[in-house]
Amino acid sequence: MSDEKKDGFEPTIVGFLCNWCTYAAADVAGSSRLQYPHNVRAIRTMCSGSVDPLYILRALFSGADAVLVSGCRPGDCHYVSGNYKERRRMLVLKTILDTLGLEPDRVWLRWVAASEVPKFAATMNEITAEVKKLGPNPIGGAWSV
């Protein structure tokens, strides 16, 4: 891919955001007019722990350039331990993708509390910039998946 094309590349990032923390932070970021990239398409979930790898894979295989799961900080899960369990699941998912040679770097996991509004914007900026460096997800153009 030419640099020119890569420069103009706007990634699609599917974000599974926990209702009790990151989604609330995103909401406040919006209503307080805090700028963050439009690349993240937010999907509200009741807990990061309810995000089965199936949903992440489905997004990636359908052509999302990256998937973010963002939940409550360790120890703060509204349901006690959902985020800890999700962390293990994400480790497994990333290990599987790595073993199969399928770019585990396109899967992100972050903890953003409801009060951490600037951190939410900064995280979205960081992820968008990193995914731009990765370029488009090759699975997005593969018809035979």
């Binding site: 489905r58 962390r87 293990r88 994400m90 497994v92 599987i96 199969l100 018809w143 998946v145």
Partner: protein
């Protein structure tokens, strides 16, 4: 240390000794029933059977080198609704027992009143290969064990068995030790639990020394590990990366046999059998237009990689996924390789212990803090 006793082998027939042993269990009322593979008169196949009448055990052939279905699934099916007050002895191989332990932790089976008799395993053939082998030989179990003991490598062994590093039972009440035993004289019985000891005591057998066993086990495991690592290297070279992976899965016909035969895949309704991924025609055309083209039915890779995410931590490497694949997709190789990467993350060996929680059902507060941050 397990209590070790000897059980005599007559006329060089280990199968005969196994039959006598199981008959004694029933006759002395040490158990009420035995679940064991029985040979059909045609010798074309062995089928797992619940036996309550001792003379039927003349057809028992637990050493027949074939694994049509895993005993783990059978026990799950029998005990899931309610276990029995009757005592059942279950004769099974290492991979079957390991899968059973995983199903127990997944709350899909009960071991109440189940006596696990684990038999050392030298490997199994595919169902068609065994069918031929059984017809060619009067006593297929004995012929097979004798050939192995004579040091003959059999090319018909399924790949799953060639690379299995657990030929001995990890969890059992009684282990029938074939590895390192002088099978012309006797087979060794190791009583690993109080329940197992009770049964062994009830048989009134002489104590025996199991000296050579550990060294023989180590030697066999080392051979298997060597072969395993060769297969892993080959699998990585042949399947890694999007292009190779989609080629490897191209022949998949979506029958889901691999899932149906997998002892770990227990969901009564799989999401891939649901309407979750059913869409209107326009949706498919939309995707086709975005990608330029679209393979249909869709979601072949999604099915396999999702299954990996759901069961790789518990995969025991029985290889029944492969045996069930009509299109010869190397599912076993890929799943076994991925399992070997995923399980060590949690220092987890599927089926090693009833007490170790499933990795995805537990956690520690301080662990894997870098996940998602690399």
């Amino acid at each position: 240390m397990a209590k070790t006793v000897g059980f005599s082998v007559k006329d060089g027939s280990v199968t005969g000794a196994m039959r006598r042993l199981l008959k004694e269990l029933l006759e002395k009322k040490l158990v009420d029933a035995v679940l064991v593979p029985l040979e059909l008169p045609s010798r074309e196949m062995v089928v797992q059977t619940l036996v309550m009448q001792a003379d039927v055990l003349d057809a028992a052939n637990p050493l027949a080198p074939v694994l049509p279905v895993t005993t783990a699934n059978i026990i799950s099916k029998i005990t899931r609704l309610a276990s029995s007050q009757k005592k059942v002895a279950v004769v099974a191989r290492s991979c079957e027992l390991r899968a059973l332990i995983e199903l127990l932790k997944l709350k899909q089976a009960s071991l109440d009143n189940i006596m696990l008799i684990g038999v050392d395993c030298f490997g199994t053939f595919s169902v068609p290969d065994y069918k031929q082998f059984g017809q060619e030989n009067q006593a297929p179990g004995d012929v097979f064990v004798k050939a192995v003991k004579a040091g003959k490598a059999d090319a018909r062994l399924r790949e799953a068995c060639q690379i299995c590093e657990y030929p001995y039972p990890l969890v059992s009440d009684i282990t029938v030790a074939l590895i390192g035993s002088d099978l012309d004289k006797q087979l060794l019985l190791l009583a690993n639990t109080p329940a197992g000891e009770l049964v062994v005591d009830g048989l009134g057998l002489p104590a025996a020394a199991g000296d050579g066993r550990q060294a023989a086990v180590d030697k066999l495991v080392a051979e298997r590990v060597k072969r395993r690592d060769e297969v892993f290297g080959q699998t990585l070279a042949e399947t890694r990366g999007l292009e190779k992976l989609t080629s490897v899965f191209a022949p998949c016909i979506g029958c889901h046999n691999c899932r149906d035969m997998c002892p770990i895949c227990y969901c009564r309704e799989c999401v891939f059998d649901s309407q979750t991924f059913a869409f209107e025609a326009d949706k498919y055309l939309d995707w086709a237009s975005r990608k330029g083209a679209l393979r249909v039915p869709t979601d072949t890779l999604l099915f396999h990689v999702t299954r990996l995410n759901h069961m790789a931590t518990s995969c025991v490497g029985c290889g029944l996924c492969q045996q069930a694949c009509p299109a010869d997709v190397p599912v076993f190789r890929i799943f076994r390789l991925v399992g070997s990467k995923v399980q060590p993350l949690f220092d987890y060996v599927p089926g090693r212990s009833v007490d170790e929680p499933l990795p995805l059902t537990t956690f520690k507060e301080a662990e894997f803090e870098k996940v998602g941050f690399e």
